[in-house]
Symmetry: C2
């Protein structure tokens, strides 16, 4: 290479965004200590920057029951009253989050357990009361994220582990959907990193036949997605998940992968993992 | 100033350690929301780097009772069995810690709530079983602290808020005395920062007469301390606290202040606050 080529190559290298994986796990991983162990080991093994977002699991419900706090439902919708907020702050922010951190540290990953209040990373808005008062629930989108603060934490060598809590900036913690947190983080941080968003759930990915795990669809691009919807192949429960995923992609996320937590190790080994959604399949 | 003087002055400035306050609060502050509010506002107002360490408070006992977990005592010593560890992980690491963080954020302080597992900041050893099995209790000293990791977090712009939990590096969280955490943090970080350790408690400081808050002793140096001990002026309950404080000072901490949380604001205003222990009064 001559000098100019070298300079250009170096600039491209410098301009190339670093890779980030934002990975969300739910109750099906958290409630099973063996699944969780294997998932966290695989998570630790992934190269590049990474962020873990975890939901609740059954333990919050169990502890609420033991404390005599009844689940509040209005028109079938779950309400986060002040008692329930206390329980989820204890269970999500304390019990689950800090045990995940201790496990990740054991595997050599320099994890830090967080709510959205920590580092002012996620500032949400208490859901306005219309027909239903949802209580201490936080609504948010990618504008609620502070990507510079999160980036500073990662560049200092730490791996953020977020539970499903945010704050309003006025001292109030808020219960917030973990899927929403994960996708907002991915969209917001795609301004700094080349970001892949991974949703771990109980199936291997998007299936042609919901009862046949071998019918996994490996890749879907927007055109293919429209076709699958028209042919009514995609299961109705998957539609909001996939709509949100393609929205995230149109907002800057490189790819969204939907897969089984057990299979995350395949990503490290460059084997296909789950269903990969991207602009160009 | 001539050139050499300017260079020397700049070098001295560079060599001068930055100031750090490590402040410990206990149940008497945490259990009273008004006290806590004022303390956190004063904490936010302090200049320089700062670390908050908080103990438990009555809420852990209350929640344990509500969950039907009885306090385990052996020979009058409190035992942390696995059920109690779950409760303190929820209450210290979740409920108390994250609410303190949300309050500090409200006041504009960029706090991050931590256990010793986060960032591998504090790695303790499970207390060996001799005559008593204390359960999941972590023993530690300044060697257990990772000052580089904590400094990286602070240099990235965050204020660490530690609860009284550590880990063993093998995935196990451990219940650990908050006073011990605070003094170990102060000693360890004195290699990087000019560190002042502050213990907030219910009295104004070290009193000549325990029943007279006006009998506050403003400053004690080692010589004066020996004299006070000889004259049996210092209350017996204060002796271990003061012994530990002078040990911390002999290990590099610039000063230890023992005072009332309500009065912390005086520090900001350069007014005398509590009893100041140092090498040279």
């Amino acid at each position: 290479m001559n000098k100019i080529d070298t300079v250009l190559a170096n600039s491209t290298q410098l301009l190339k965004k670093k890779s980030l994986h934002v990975i969300k796990i739910g109750g099906n991983v958290i409630d099973n200590s063996e699944n969780l162990y294997h998932f966290l080991k695989d998570f630790e093994g992934l190269d590049g920057y990474k962020i873990l977002v975890h939901g609740g699991g059954k333990v919050a419900t169990q502890i609420a029951e033991e404390l005599g706090i009844e689940a509040k439902l209005v028109d079938g919708r779950r309400i986060t009253d002040i008692e329930t907020l206390r329980v989820v702050t204890m269970v999500y922010g304390g019990l689950i989050n800090k045990n995940i951190v201790a496990q990740l540290q054991r595997f050599g990953n320099n994890a830090i357990g967080l709510t959205g209040a920590d580092g002012n990373f996620i500032r949400a808005k208490k859901r306005p009361v219309k027909t239903i008062d949802y209580g201490f629930v936080g609504d948010m989108d990618e504008q609620s994220i502070n990507p510079q603060n999160i980036s500073r934490l990662m560049e200092a060598g730490f791996t953020p582990v977020f539970c499903a809590l945010t704050h309003d900036g006025e001292g109030q913690l808020l219960n917030t959907n973990a899927d929403t947190i994960a996708s907002a983080l991915a969209v917001s941080l795609s301004s700094i990193y080349e970001t892949t968003l991974i949703y771990c759930f109980e199936k291997k990915g998007v299936l042609l036949d919901i009862n046949d795990e071998d019918s996994l669809i490996r890749e879907i691009d927007p055109e293919h997605y429209e076709e699958l919807k028209t042919r009514r192949i995609i299961h109705s429960g998957m539609l909001p998940k996939l709509d949100n995923a393609f929205t995230a992609i149109s907002c800057g996320v490189k790819a969204v992968i939907i897969g089984k937590s057990d299979d995350l190790g395949q990503l490290k080994n460059n084997q296909p993992f789950g269903t990969r959604l991207s602009k160009n399949a």
